[in-house]
């Protein structure tokens, strides 16, 4: 595998060892060899993006939307990304897909740096990465029939009319729609049906990586479950790799093999969903988990996270979470914590852990409410 030099140190430190839980149990086609070989499909390294904001006639400020984000995704697995609104989840997705250009950092698909490619080679590589969009209403062209929408990527890539038609009908069937739906228009379908169309279109070019950006957030709970089951089913059938972005922790836990927790454009914790639920390390993750409403009415509601999300125009110095963190120490304002591996496969960016950890580590942290 060709690796971009320079950033490799940090990236290697982040490579999650071994494949996580669920995908190993999928009993379909790929041979056990390919499963056990951890095959890195996507490597994101030191990704940064700032957006300029006009604050006056001549003055500009910069919003740091994504700051030094690095991770890898192994083929056939699902990486979940969670975080509050505005933490840079969607920007990360768009940077990976090349919908916006990063200020720094690399995105390597199958070891090939996407940014170094141009023209046809870039286009060929790009068809391997597709996206399922958040809003099932604005993600479909209202003047195109469902069939035309699904066949559009095929048209762009020069398939014949007959091939387009054949493939479109297979795709409709795969996502659980009838082939009569091809002549429907988006305004004649329900939200769940539209999201199925959305998925069918994303799969049209047989991508290997599918990024689902809040793919079920706009749907009813019951429809959410249907769509999530469809996604896991398709993953097994087509050996897809997912990056699943959501603000809903339960959904991410259900879908993912590895989870990234993001806060203000940075990854603060990276581990398996089981570890995230059982023993979250970062104070932010702990608060996030505690905020999930409990089904037991006698359980007192969790202490809410104090303060507003700081303005990304001027993020706090050092650790970005320190302004809202119950365990903040003097070092948090002075130094940005490094990403360290606290437990095997469990990474965290917090001064409570690693070499700078205080004697009574974790003291003052909100107690973990789970089990």
């Amino acid at each position: 595998m060709t690796m971009p030099t320079g950033h490799s140190q940090a990236a290697n430190a982040l490579t999650p060892p071994g494949t996580g839980g669920r995908s190993a149990s999928s009993g379909v086609t790929p041979s056990p060899e390919t499963r056990t070989q951890s095959h890195v499909l996507l490597r994101v390294d030191g990704l940064r993006k700032r957006f300029s904001v006009r604050t006056g006639l001549y003055s500009k400020a910069y919003v740091s939307a994504v700051d030094n984000v690095s991770f890898t995704v192994e083929a056939g697995t699902t990486l979940g990304i969670v975080g509050e609104t505005g933490c840079g989840k969607s920007t990360t997705a768009r940077l990976i897909l090349g919908l916006i250009e990063p200020d720094a950092g690399t995105v390597a698909f199958e070891g090939v740096d996407v940014q170094t490619l141009t023209g046809l080679r870039r286009r060929t590589l790009r068809r391997n990465m597709q996206m399922i969009f958040q809003d099932p209403y604005s993600a479909l062209n209202p003047r195109m029939s469902i069939g035309e929408s699904i066949a559009f990527p095929l048209r762009v890539h020069g398939y014949s009319k007959a091939e387009q038609r054949e493939r479109m009908e297979i795709l409709l069937h795969q996502v659980g729609l009838h082939r009569h739906h091809a002549s429907y228009y988006p305004h004649q379908m329900s939200g769940g049906q539209r999201q199925r169309v959305n998925i069918a279109r994303a799969l049209a070019l047989e991508p290997r990586l599918v990024i689902a950006d809040e793919a079920v957030s706009a749907l009813d709970k019951s429809v959410q479950a249907q769509v999530l089951n469809l996604l896991t089913d398709l993953q097994e059938r087509l050996q897809l790799t997912y990056i699943f972005i959501s603000h809903d922790l339960n959904v991410v836990q259900y879908m993912s093999d590895r989870v990234l927790v993001m806060y203000l454009g940075q990854i603060v914790e990276h581990c398996t969903p089981e570890a995230l639920y059982a023993a979250p390390l970062h104070p932010y993750t702990q608060v996030l988990l505690a905020s999930i409403p409990d089904v037991n009415p006698d359980q007192p509601p969790a202490a809410p996270l104090e303060g507003e999300l700081p303005s990304p125009l001027s993020p706090p110095s050092g650790c970005r979470f320190r302004t809202r963190c119950a365990a903040a120490m003097p070092i948090c304002a002075a130094e940005r914590p490094p990403m360290i591996q606290e437990r095997p496969g469990h990474f965290v960016m917090c001064h409570l852990y690693g070499p700078s950890a205080p004697a009574g580590r974790g003291e003052g942290c909100i107690p973990i409410p789970h089990n």
Partner: protein, 301 residues
């Protein structure tokens, strides 16, 4: 060509099987337009005028250019001259029918030309939105700064008199407002997720503009352009009234209005006829445009 892998099918289906294909968007728009009474009256009036102008030689036995000096300025309802005669003794009905050819042409043609050019400029400016877009739109703003009729007169005067030049002048006047409508509509559309989806599929900018943006900005442009037809006829008539459009003796409503001006105290009703037709045509165009807007405006949910 890339070979397509036959995908395994069968996923538990929630689809209501045996679903009947619903009516297409255009079929729905057509029905809605048919049921709009004002719109249908306007369209009928326009079609009638256009047809009459087209078959003018069949409807009238007179020559529009040759008059009879002994039968000048006859009133409406005279025997042999249903709508009277003008100051040179030419049959008014004949001249109005023949005049409709030029007047309708100078009404439609500039709108068609400027819609095509304005849509290309506006959608490009809206999609690119960088320095290119800014230069394009500021140029349009400069054209926009002049009142429409003044700009038409200025351009027409510099190009010289004649029908072709007046059509060109009016087209240039309309490019600015149409490109602005197109630009605003494009900006609304390009932030939507289906444009991102099209970009992900590898489509080129031209392809996205044509297949994704254009169908979605067409409605506001179409409605706006159809409302300009009436204005276009009025401006064209104004130009020929001022001697910058059609040259005599070719009949044209605007110029006829001008030449009959002197006879307003002798035969006011005859003198007002070209003006009435200009009014009726532009009114019909506006009514048609209103009806179109109502018909096209199908809510997406």
């Amino acid at each position: 060509m890339i070979t397509m892998v036959q995908l395994p099918a069968a996923v538990p289906s929630t689809a209501d099987t045996g679903a009947v294909a619903p009516r297409s968007y255009l079929a729905e728009v057509r029905t809605r337009f048919w049921h709009n009474r004002a719109g249908m009256i306007a369209v009928s009036a326009l079609v009638l005028l256009a047809m009459a102008a087209l078959v003018a030689p069949l409807l009238s036995p007179y020559d529009p250019l040759i008059g009879n000096a002994t039968r000048r300025l006859l009133p409406i309802g005279s025997t042999g001259h249903l709508l009277g005669t003008d100051e040179q003794g030419r049959d008014m009905l004949t001249r109005l029918l023949y005049g409709g050819r030029l007047s309708l042409l100078t009404g439609m043609l500039p709108v068609i030309v400027s819609t095509v050019i304005g849509t290309v400029i506006g959608s490009t400016a809206g999609y690119l939105s960088g320095p290119i877009g800014a230069v394009l739109m500021r140029t349009m703003d400069m054209l926009y700064a002049f009142p429409a009729i003044m700009l038409a007169i200025a351009i027409s005067a510099s190009l010289g008199p004649g029908v072709t030049n007046s059509v060109l002048a009016i087209s240039m006047v309309f490019i600015a407002p149409i490109s602005r409508v197109a630009e605003a509509a494009t900006r609304r559309v390009i932030v939507l997720e289906y444009i991102e989806a099209a970009r992900l599929s590898g489509a080129s900018t031209a392809c996205i503009l044509r297949s994704q943006v254009l169908p979605n900005i067409f409605n506001p442009i179409f409605v706006y352009a159809s409302s300009l037809i009436g204005l276009s006829i009025v401006i064209a008539s104004g130009l020929s009234f001022l001697g910058m459009g059609a040259r005599p003796p070719v009949p044209e409503w605007g110029f006829m209005l001008n030449s009959l001006r002197g006879t307003i105290y002798v035969q006011p009703w005859v003198a007002a006829l070209p003006g009435f037709l200009i009014f009726a045509t532009s009114m019909s165009c506006n009514m048609m445009s209103d009806a179109l807007r109502d018909a096209l405006d199908i809510k997406d949910a």
